[in-house]
Amino acid sequence: MNPALNSAAATMNTGMAPVATPWFFYALAGAAVISALFVITRRNAVHSALALIVTLLSVAGLYLMLYAPFVAGVQIIVYAGGIMVLFLFVIMLVNVERSSKERQFNRIWPVGLAAACALMALFVSALVKGRALFPERLVKLSEGTNTQDIAKALYGDAGRMGQYTFAFEIASLLLLVAILGAVIMTKKKI
């Protein structure tokens, strides 16, 4: 077990009043859910993509409220900055006009909606029955050393391999395969 990963609990930040009030949470959660609703109902795919950007930014705000500033930064840079630009480019490459005039939902949409409602009932029952299992007192992660702790887990500390170094290398291999696959599939003639 890497000590850097668990030392965060020991360094409780004291003395600072919490900036994250419940109102921030409700505003961010409401923005995330409402714009997620826009994502799946809009006729024009560009509008869906813009609504998805609002959802991603709201989720990044929720990460900040959970004392995870590095993940929030990665969310904004990689998701809202990288992946969504890719989506918007592809929407412009395939023609939007024709598909926005067509039927938007497939023929078996009542079955899909029923399955999603069953999934929601499952989630609600799990959360209602298991709500006693969650501890009331939250452990404050140290926000100031968050990025350093993540770096130590990813790249190792003092010459030793970190707990996630091997997974990090595998992830770089995955990205290489994705780059090659995207180029080979998209090019007309190799």
Binding site: A29, V33, L66, Y67, Q75, Y79
Partner: protein, 102 residues
């Protein structure tokens, strides 16, 4: 007003997950289906970061970073397949993608 607990975050994540599942199961446009998959991945990420905060260690945040890497790879590969398919069939509707059916 009561403090925000882990359960609040789990409710938001469950709502995002269900909306993503509805999008995947009912929409015809492949681009919007891929965006709904991104919604599902975000719901899982929110759960993991909330649990990371609950237990006071960083494992959940590490998992979240790897899921974001995975989402980037998935978006690149999925949109590559989409462009290759659009070049051949001039459609991006999921119910018309049936070359492998018989």
């Amino acid at each position: 007003m009561a403090d925000i607990t882990t359960l609040h975050y789990l409710v938001v994540a469950a709502a995002l997950f269900v909306l993503g599942v509805i999008g995947v199961l009912t929409r015809r446009n492949v681009v919007i289906v891929l965006m709904s998959i991104e919604l599902i991945l975000n719901a899982v990420n929110l759960n993991l970061v909330a649990f990371s905060h609950m237990w006071g260690n960083l494992h959940g945040q590490m998992f979240t970073i790897f899921i974001i890497v995975d989402a980037a790879a998935e978006a690149a590969a999925g949109l590559g397949i989409l462009i290759a398919f659009f070049r051949n069939r001039e459609t991006i509707n999921v119910d018309e993608i049936d070359l492998l059916k018989w």
